[in-house]
Amino acid sequence: MAALGGVEGAGTLASLSEKSPALEEFSSGRAKKRRHFRWWRLIVMVLAGIYFLGPLYAGIKFSLEDIQGGFSLRAIESIPSSPGFSAAFALSMRITIVTVVVSALLMIPTAIYVHLRVPRMRRVLDFVTVLPIVIPPIVLIVGVLDASPLWVKSSPYLLSFMYVILAMPFVYRSLDAGLGAVDLKTLTEASRSLGGNWIKTLWRVVLPNLRPALMSALVLTLALALGEFTMASLDLWTTIPVWIYQFQNASNGHVQIAAAMVGLVGAIVLVTIIVSLDRSRSGRRKMSTK
């Protein structure tokens, strides 16, 4: 899956924070200019298509081939039984689950509390949560390995701890946008005046209204925790990406590529889910303003 960690993940930040309402109304210049423009547009689109789809096609084709070059699912089928895969898979799952749970327990109450009670702290949080993009994973891991005592360093959950930090920009931004889209104050006051306690209000009123934001935060965290390579490899834990990198199979070189392509296509599916969630959310907002 994609390396969402660090600045390589800045795209998500951009896609989450920069939305242009003027986009739909944009049209090209005068009608007679259009014919003139069409040629360079065609060239740009064709080149972009070749550059972006060509390697993708090649990778998928390569993973669906046997050694002789014929069509075969052998490479993909032999991934689970490859040496070391099940251990790497189990480790990645453990780290990912802890990351998601800790991230949810830390970020959801914090974001809700800031919106409801101390809105003046929002600027501070905006700044703090963007810091993991300025301080990249490669710099962070040097300091982490230096400053951690041995018992911390020997635990794989140190990676979970750091992934919560790396995912913070995406998780916080996503929650922040979701909270901004609902009238949280009115909702909670209504719930409280109807006799709901805080836990009930949170569970039955606030969280259901945040479902799209929670979903996109979850998917982003999953993609990050499953695909992160820098910290995992330098902390010497063989997670799935590290396993793919170190994997050598003398008899069939297609297996390594196939594993990478499964991860890549998985990431495409995951991120497509976010994008479509984003669209349905903005669509609903547009409808409610009409």
């Binding site: 994609a2 390396a3 986009l23 547009r41 550059y51 301080i135 490669i138 230096d146 990406p241």
Partner: protein, 299 residues
Amino acid sequence: MAPGSEEITLKSNSRIHRVRRFFGPSMALAPFFIFVFLGLGIPTIAVVYKAFQGEHGGFTFSNVHDITQGVYRLGFENSFKLALLSSVIPGVLGVFLAYAILTAKSNVLRRVVLAASGVFANFGGINLTFMFIAALGTTGTLTVWLNAIKLNPWHYGFNLYTFSGVVFVYMYFQIPLMVLVITPALGGLKQSWREAAENLGASSWRYWFHVGVPVLLPSVLGGMLLLFGSAFAAYATAESLTTGIIALSPIQIGNFINGNVISGQTNAGYAIAFGMLVILSVTMIAYGLVRKRASRWLL
């Protein structure tokens, strides 16, 4: 005891009260800030502290001095070159792609390309490397095809596993990132500005020279700064593609962690990390300033 002591405690009590009223509601944020301090603050402090600490302790500038020469200097120069190439080329191409889809008649095309940009901008890392090896490695699918029409890029100085390959592969997530960043700015170019220019007799070229480019320049520059930071800090893609043989600062930090240190320079890794931190901070501050400038006309 002096008679005034009671008054003093009263006063300080009220001060505590005021402090508590101001910070009290924020106390619920303590877990978050403790977490950030442990995961972000302490590692950063450790890097900066170690960057100025000698081999046997004590404050020194020798680490920072060491990284300004020899192989570490080369690492910074290469990283800078790589980041510059991977921000300017994809930056320009990204603007063209964004403009092409914005002026396209088809709404579907625009939607698909923007959604795809959101997907591709998050690629990078191990899987991207192996996809490109399958495509453009010495025996990759596309290499074989291009070879058949006598256009094998490997015969023209291209090597996927060195500098040129890294620049080429980085474009895969850098161009979509630029499209995402620049599309709102391009969408903010008002049709009325163009009409006004045309009514005053300006040609298309003059419109772009006097209106379009000056208005867009801060946004384009901002996008390129973001791409610069992204390329400068990336480790996974470069490491897996080149197996760590080219001198780039992030790869040198990785080698340092893995125990490959030049004798007598045991703390050089921290100094490289510190250097990267300084360069990235400057980049991001510049990004903030440029964005502020860009918002004068757009958005």
